[in-house]
C-alpha cells in the first residue's frame, strides 16, 4: 500500500544515516555517564544534553526543523522543539545568564571576603584558559589542528571549569563547537577529583600539604551585601563586556544576601534555575549533530580541554606556593587548585588532599574563597574575549 511505503520511508530505520546512529549511541553513552552510580557526571546538565543529543539525531523527527512561514507571515508549519529552545535561550545568551543569576543566589562569598587575597588564586588558575587558547593557536599555525582564533578562544574557556560561562562564550564565538565544548566542560568538571590530585601532589611537598591555615574571621552581613554591589560597579568601570555574566551573578547574590527578597532568591535558586537547566541541556544537545560532533575537532577539543584543566590547576597551585612564600600568614598551596572554579567540587578536592597529608587539616572553607574567585576570574576572562573579538 502507498501509505505503508510512506511510513517505511518516514521510519528511522530507512532514513537513519550512520552518523546519526553513532550520535544516538553517543547520547546513550552520555546518559550512562550521567546516571550510572559509578560516574554520575554532572547529571543536572549531562542528562538533558544526552537526551537532546538523541532527539536531534532522530531522522525525520524534526526536533531542529526550522519553521515554515508563508508570504503573509503566517506559520505554515512550526519549528521543532529544540529549534525554539536553542534560538530563544542559547543564541540569545538568556539561559546562561539566568543560570548565573541562580548560581549567584546560591553562592556564599563569606570565605572570599574573610581572605580576599585568595582572589589572586582565582586569577592564576585562568592561565588554563589562555594557555590552552595559545596552544590551539600555535598548533593550528603548526598545521596540526585547524581552528580559527575565535574557536581557539572558545576551546580555551573550557579551562574556566564553569559550564554556563563556556556555553555563553561558545554560543557567541563558535556555535558550531558548542556541543563538544559543553560536554567537555561538564565532563571534566565531574572528573576534577581524578584530574587534580596527581598534579597537586606533584607540585607540592608533603610539608606544604600539611600547612594548617588560621581560622577565617566572621564576615558581617553588611560586607556580604556590599560586595556584589562593589563588584558590579568595578565591572561597570573597568570591563563592561563582562557585565552581563558578572552582573547577573551579582544580582543573584544580592537577592540572597540582602535578605529582603527571599521569595525571589528562592525562586532564582530553585524553580527558575531548574527550568532553565532543563532547557539549556536540551538546547546544547541540539548542537550535537553528527556533522558537528563526529570529527577530529571534537577529539582535539577533548584533549585541549583536559590540558586546560591541568594547566589551570597547576597555575593555581604554583600561585598559592608563591603566595605562601611571600605571605606572613601560612597559605596551603593545595587551595590554589580550587581557583579553577568547578564549585564546590574543586574545593572538596583541596580539602581531601589536605586531609590525606594531615588528618587535622580542614581546608574546605579556605578553598571556597579561591573556588568562587575562579568563577569571577573566568567571567572576567570571558569579558576579555568578548571585548577582543567584539
Amino acid at each position: 500500500m502507498h501509505s505503508l511505503i510512506n511510513l517505511w520511508h518516514d521510519s528511522g530505520l530507512y532514513q537513519m544515516e550512520v552518523g546519526q546512529l553513532a550520535m544516538i549511541i553517543v547520547g546513550c553513552l552520555l546518559l550512562f555517564l550521567a546516571i550510572h552510580p559509578k560516574f554520575q557526571f554532572e547529571p543536572l546538565l549531562l542528562l538533558p544534553i544526552a537526551v537532546g543529543t538523541i532527539f536531534v539525531n532522530i531522522p525525520g523527527a524534526g526536533f531542529y526543523a526550522a519553521p515554515v512561514i508563508d508570504a503573509h507571515g503566517h506559520v505554515e508549519s512550526p519549528a521543532g522543539l529544540l529549534y525554539y529552545i536553542y534560538h530563544a535561550g542559547i543564541e540569545t545568551g538568556l539561559f546562561p545568564l539566568l543560570i548565573f543569576m541562580g548560581v549567584g543566589a546560591m553562592t556564599d562569598f563569606g570565605p572570599l571576603l574573610a581572605n580576599p587575597k585568595t582572589l589572586l588564586l582565582g586569577a592564576a588558575a585562568q592561565f588554563g584558559i589562555f594557555g590552552t587558547l595559545f596552544g590551539a593557536a600555535a598548533l593550528t599555525d603548526a598545521g596540526i589542528m585547524d581552528f580559527t582564533m575565535q574557536q581557539a578562544a572558545a576551546i580555551g574557556i573550557i579551562g574556566g571549569a564553569d559550564g554556563p560561562t563556556s556555553i555563553f562564550i561558545a554560543s557567541k564565538l563558535a556555535p558550531e563547537l558548542l556541543g563538544a565544548i559543553a560536554v567537555a566542560a561538564y565532563s571534566y568538571m565531574a572528573l576534577v577529583p581524578m584530574i587534580q590530585p596527581p598534579i597537586m601532589k606533584a607540585l607540592t611537598t608533603k610539608e606544604e600539604r600539611k600547612i594548617q591555615m588560621s581560622q577565617l574571621r566572621e564576615v558581617s552581613k553588611a560586607e556580604k551585601i556590599i560586595f556584589p554591589i562593589s563588584l558590579l560597579v568595578l565591572v561597570a568601570l573597568l570591563l563592561p563586556s563582562a557585565a552581563p555574566l558578572l552582573g547577573m551573578f551579582c544580582f543573584g547574590n544580592l537577592m540572597k544576601e540582602s535578605g529582603v527578597v527571599d521569595r525571589l532568591s528562592d525562586t532564582a535558586q530553585n524553580a527558575l534555575i531548574n527550568v532553565v537547566t532543563i532547557f539549556l541541556g536540551l538546547g546544547v544537545g541540539s548542537k550535537m549533530s553528527a556533522d558537528k560532533f563526529l570529527n577530529a575537532d571534537t577529539l582535539f577539543i577533548l584533549v585541549l580541554g583536559m590540558l586546560a584543566f591541568c594547566v589551570g590547576t597547576a597555575a593555581g597551585v604554583l600561585m598559592a606556593k608563591a603566595m605562601n612564600k611571600m605571605s606572613k600568614t601560612p597559605i596551603n598551596p593545595l587551595i590554589g587548585s580550587a581557583g579553577v572554579s568547578a564549585v564546590p567540587m574543586a574545593a572538596r578536592v583541596s580539602n581531601k588532599v589536605g586531609l590525606d597529608a594531615n588528618p587535622q587539616n580542614f581546608l574546605l572553607m579556605h578553598a571556597m574563597g579561591p573556588n568562587v574567585a575562579g568563577v569571577i576570574g573566568s567571567a572576567v576572562a570571558a569579558g576579555v574575549m568578548i571585548s577582543f573579538f567584539g
Binding site: 582572589l119 589562555f130 594557555g131 593557536a137 599555525d141 581557539a152 562593589s230 576572562a381 574575549m385
Partner: protein
C-alpha cells in the same frame, strides 16, 4: 589582524588576557579590603546575628507546629513532676 600569524595573536591574547584578569582581581582585592574596613569601622555588626530560628527552619516548619510541640513538651514535663 589578518596580517599577524595565529600564534602571535594567541600570544597577544594570552598575555593581554592574563594581564586583565590579574589587574581586575587585584583591584578587587583592594576594593574588597577597603570596603570591609569601611563597613567594620562605620557599621560594625552589634553582634554576630545567630538567627537560629531562620537557619533551623528554612521552609515549612511552621510556628503553629512548633507551638503544638512545645506545648506537648511542657505538658509532658508538668505531668512528669
Amino acid at each position: 589582524m589578518s596580517e599577524t600569524s595565529l600564534v602571535a595573536q594567541g600570544l597577544e591574547l594570552m598575555i593581554f588576557g592574563m594581564g586583565v584578569v590579574f589587574v581586575f582581581l587585584t583591584m578587587l582585592v583592594f576594593v574588597t579590603g577597603f570596603m570591609s574596613k569601611l563597613v567594620n569601622k562605620f557599621a560594625p555588626e552589634p553582634q554576630p546575628v545567630p538567627a537560629p530560628a531562620r537557619a533551623a527552619a528554612p521552609q515549612g516548619v511552621d510556628p503553629q507546629l512548633l507551638k503544638v510541640l512545645s506545648a506537648a513538651v511542657k505538658e509532658h514535663r508538668a505531668r512528669q513532676k
